[in-house]
């Protein structure tokens, strides 16, 4: 049996959760509402995060455009996703929503532009 501590981030209260993992069984305590329980379980089973970063632009009116993963990706892939993002160079023009990397690392999630760059 393993015990993990974390803070629920779903509301300003920030309950301190204690999560006990016993094989398949996950128990959450310390939560004041059910959102805390759901959060605790997903943080143990499949923690996910949005990653945001920047990508170089060639021939643009700026050096970089900002990007994000279109949905959350598994937390353990954060640094691998960063490596992929850092390997990309874009050509202006770039518009918000443009797909920068499709289906990154087979996650089914795209990396998309979140700012514009005009061609100069």
């Amino acid at each position: 049996m393993e015990v993990k501590k974390m803070i629920c981030i779903n509301c300003p209260l920030g309950c301190s959760l204690e999560i006990t993992i016993d094989g398949e069984e996950i128990n959450v305590s310390g939560n004041k509402c059910k959102r805390g329980r759901e959060y605790g379980i997903s943080e143990i089973k499949d923690p996910r995060r949005i990653v945001t970063s920047t990508v170089r632009v060639l021939n643009g009116d700026k050096m970089l455009v900002s990007v994000k993963t279109s949905r959350e990706i598994p937390k353990k892939l954060i640094f691998d996703v960063m490596k992929e993002i850092n390997g990309v160079k874009l050509k202006a023009p770039v518009s918000i929503g443009d797909i920068v990397i499709k289906d990154i690392l087979g996650t089914g999630v795209d990396v998309v532009a979140t700012s514009n760059a005009k061609k100069i």
Binding site: M6, I7, I9, P12, L13, G14, R49, I50, V51, T52, S53, T54, R56, K62, M63, L64, S66, K68, K75, I78, F79, M82, I96, T114, S115, N116
Partner: protein, 418 residues
């Protein structure tokens, strides 16, 4: 040049005010922005989490800004970039400069101040030691990394656990730096919980409460800092000093509204917020000069900036159309017992559309309290709060009918035990 409404600053505050003024029938609007693009500080805030209240989705800073820039363009609102406002006078004459036109003088019927805020720097903190390269504000680092594309260091200590510092801890880590620790003077963080978890805990970055940086080392480049524990008086405790090697120190120690121009014009400034004293329409002490966004008080959520700025845009439009009433019967709003300040603090109830949303900050962390508005000993309204903290802005709405009944006098905002 003569204009009806001139807006100083093209950040989210200025943009929302411009759009709202146009929607309220004002054709002649000009936005002056010193940067090369519109959007203000949001352009460098590439993380997500903006717009949950206004758009019901989580946008990044540039995406949030873009929604308003698109609207400004669709409505054909005129703006000048690369244009720095140098002076404003009490008769609403503006002097600005840009490379194309040189010095421009504009006589405005109404002005909306939307200059945002700036970061407190090392000078404001008085940390002893040398003055090497590698000590900069978290916001400046954010600009270097996210806009200009160069990293500012490899081994980083961050002083202050405000949101910008937390966001930069993650950003620097993702770009390959090692963030040694975040050091916070207070026994609590002023940053959002979500940022503590996702920017620090996710990457095992330690957060040291009740600690500060007491000395800076290094000749040309920063070589390290000495940190120490502080007591309840927030003074360093002798004997607790410890050296931490680093090449970069990021300061995230607070924002100050940018009000040199407002002061020069003679606008009355509130000592606690360091922003203009404003009324229900976001009008300052000078008739026809309005203010909104971070220039009034520091916001943690841009959504509230937008809400407040729409009020300012509407207020300025009413002023031009001579629909803004001013009577001697005014209500003064004050913070008391745990509430540090309230915005707005003057209410002409005649001008209120539906209700007034009073924004405020508390002076400490409290659990299980009522946030209440009172007239004398009579409670006007109250809400129960399981927790309040100086890091999260609180608000309380009071309906127009209630304000009309009160008409004049004082409303005080308090925290009371449940």
């Amino acid at each position: 040049m003569e204009r009806e409404i001139v807006i100083i600053g093209g950040g989210p505050a200025g943009l929302a005010a411009a759009v709202e003024a146009r929607k309220n029938g004002i054709e002649d609007i000009l936005i002056l922005e010193r940067d090369k693009s519109l959007g203000g500080i949001l352009q460098q805030c590439i993380h997500n989490g903006f717009g949950l209240h206004i758009f019901g989705e989580q946008l990044t800073g540039p995406e949030y800004a873009d929604r308003f820039i698109k609207e400004v363009e669709k409505l054909n609102i005129e703006y000048k970039l690369d244009t720095m406002v140098l002076h404003i006078s009490s008769d609403k004459t503006i002097q600005a400069i840009n490379p194309e036109d040189g010095i421009i003088n504009i006589k405005a019927k109404a002005i909306i101040l939307a200059m945002g805020c700036r970061e407190r720097t090392r000078g404001a903190l008085n940390i002893p030691g040398t003055r090497p390269a590698g000590v900069l504000t978290a916001g400046a680092a954010q600009r270097f990394v996210n806009i200009e594309g160069h990293m500012v260091g490899k081994k980083v200590v961050i002083l202050g656990s405000g949101d910008i510092g937390l966001i930069m801890a993650r950003r620097m880590t993702l770009e390959g730096a090692k963030v040694e620790m975040v050091v916070e003077l207070m026994p609590y963080s002023t940053g959002l919980k979500r940022n503590i978890v996702q920017c620090l805990d996710d990457f095992n970055i330690p957060l040291l409460f009740s600690h500060t940086v007491v000395r800076i080392h290094g000749k040309e480049r920063l070589e390290g800092v000495t940190i120490a524990k502080v007591g309840d008086d927030r003074k360093p405790i002798p004997g607790t000093e410890r050296f931490v090697e680093c090449d970069t120190l990021l300061l995230s120690v607070g924002l100050i509204p940018e009000n040199e121009l407002s002061r020069e014009a003679g606008v009355k400034i509130n000592d606690i917020t360091s922003g203009p004293v404003v009324d229900e329409s976001m009008q300052t002490s000078i008739d026809g000069i309005f203010a909104c966004g971070n220039v009034v008080h520091v916001h943690d959520l841009v959504d509230f900036v937008t809400e407040e700025s729409r009020l300012a845009g509407r207020g300025a439009a009413k002023y031009i159309k001579k629909e803004l009433k001013k009577s001697d019967e005014r209500i003064y709003a004050k913070g008391n017992g745990g509430v540090r300040y309230v915005v707005p603090c003057i209410i002409n109830s005649e001008n209120v559309d539906n209700e007034v949303n009073f924004f405020m900050r508390v002076d400490n962390v409290y659990r299980n309290v009522y946030l209440c508005a009172k007239q004398g000993d009579t409670v006007i309204t109250k809400v129960k709060k399981q927790m309040v903290s100086p890091g999260e802005m609180e608000h309380l709405k009071i309906k127009r009918e209630v304000l009309k009944q009160i008409k004049k006098g004082e409303i005080t905002f308090h925290l009371e035990e449940v």
